[in-house]
Amino acid sequence: MSDRLPTGIEGFDLLVQGGFPARSVSLVAGPAGGGKSLFALHFCHAGARRYNEPSMYVVLEEAKESLQRVMQMFGMDFGDLEKADRFLLIDLGELRVSGSQGSPIGFRELQDFLASSLKTAHVRRLVIDSLSAIGLHYGSAAEYRERLFAFCRFLRGMDVTTLLIAESPDPHALTQFGVEQFLADSVVHLGLEEVKGELRRTLTVRKMRFTKHDTGKHPMHITSVGIEVAADEKVV
């Protein structure tokens, strides 16, 4: 594995010296409809298709079928990659619905799952969608932070580069518990702002360890081929 893992979104990769640092844990945060899942799908698709890096996308909240529709819509053909075990779309939400107590999945359970599955499937790129769904498992922010800290440490010990997806509950809060950004190596914020009655998408790299990254807010567009980031433009 190289030191950088490109996402396949050229404009974004230009902002961060070519991609996410290998074996890092990154947070992709933004409001509902901000393009977080699509961003993460680009990351998986590029890894599995172009770089022969097996990728696993773990869904905890959104229906698996909904993601499959997104893939089709943007021409991301994962069919042959799934057959070749280079892409795995795992729906752990299926367990949440009908678990023994019907309870949400927590970090320990997820860690137990990943400890086995990452090795078995030789996964190099991992997406957890989303932390918001796991947050439902915990009664307090302190407990959540403690478990997330241990979980991030576990991920760094695996030979995998991870994107954690988190929903921003409102325009003033990046994440639900306000702690995720301190524990992650990188934070990418996908914004959705209303300007003169229209929604404008933006992308900002707030933090990325081991990287000289751009700190500007850039226009982001969702086109027929997915996400495009205007690296040479800034939103003022």
């Binding site: 075990d85 795992i90 367990l95 023994s100 137990d112 799952f113 599955s117």
Partner: protein, 157 residues
């Protein structure tokens, strides 16, 4: 009549069955009542376990882990020393306690193998959650049967 005080009730135990003996106060008339459960609902119990198996397979497919459902299905095809054939013969014969024992033994084996296969791929906690969820879904609508004959506990999860 016992409740109203006309009859005296005693439990009479023997090696093969229990019975309640009723005596009329000061009378020589004795009533013997055998309270048996009737035929064992072997077919209904089998339906529960088959639902459990098909739910496990469906859940593993939906979960998205490649190849696991095939491995699980292969375990269903194992001969298991003629246990399956014996079981179906017993069902045709009307069940019985021995039939229920065989049925539970068969699905205890199958469930343990399911647990081993799924644990290896996705960890024990996730595997237990998956199997437990399937057992609960299959129990829906037939709770009294499952609880009365203790069908759920042998699935382990």
């Amino acid at each position: 009549m016992h409740g109203l005080g006309f009859l005296e009730r005693r439990v009479r135990k023997s090696r093969t069955r229990s019975a309640l003996e009723y005596r009329m106060m000061g009378s020589r008339i004795t009533l013997d009542l055998e309270l048996s459960d009737g035929p064992t609902p072997l077919k209904e119990a089998l339906d529960y376990y088959l639902d459990y198996v098909s739910t496990v397979l469906e859940k593993t497919r939906r979960l998205g882990w490649p190849g696991i459902d095939g491995k699980l299905e292969a375990r269903l095809e194992k001969n298991r020393n003629g246990l399956k054939e014996n079981l179906f013969t017993r069902i045709l014969d009307g069940g019985g306690a021995r039939g229920m024992e065989d049925l539970r033994a068969l699905f205890r084996d199958i469930s343990q193998e399911f647990l081993a296969i799924t644990s290896e791929a996705m960890g024990r906690a996730t595997a237990l959650r998956l199997l437990s969820g399937a057992a609960e879904e299959a129990r829906k609508g037939r709770e009294s049967l499952v609880d009365r004959y203790d069908l759920r506990s042998i699935l382990g999860a």
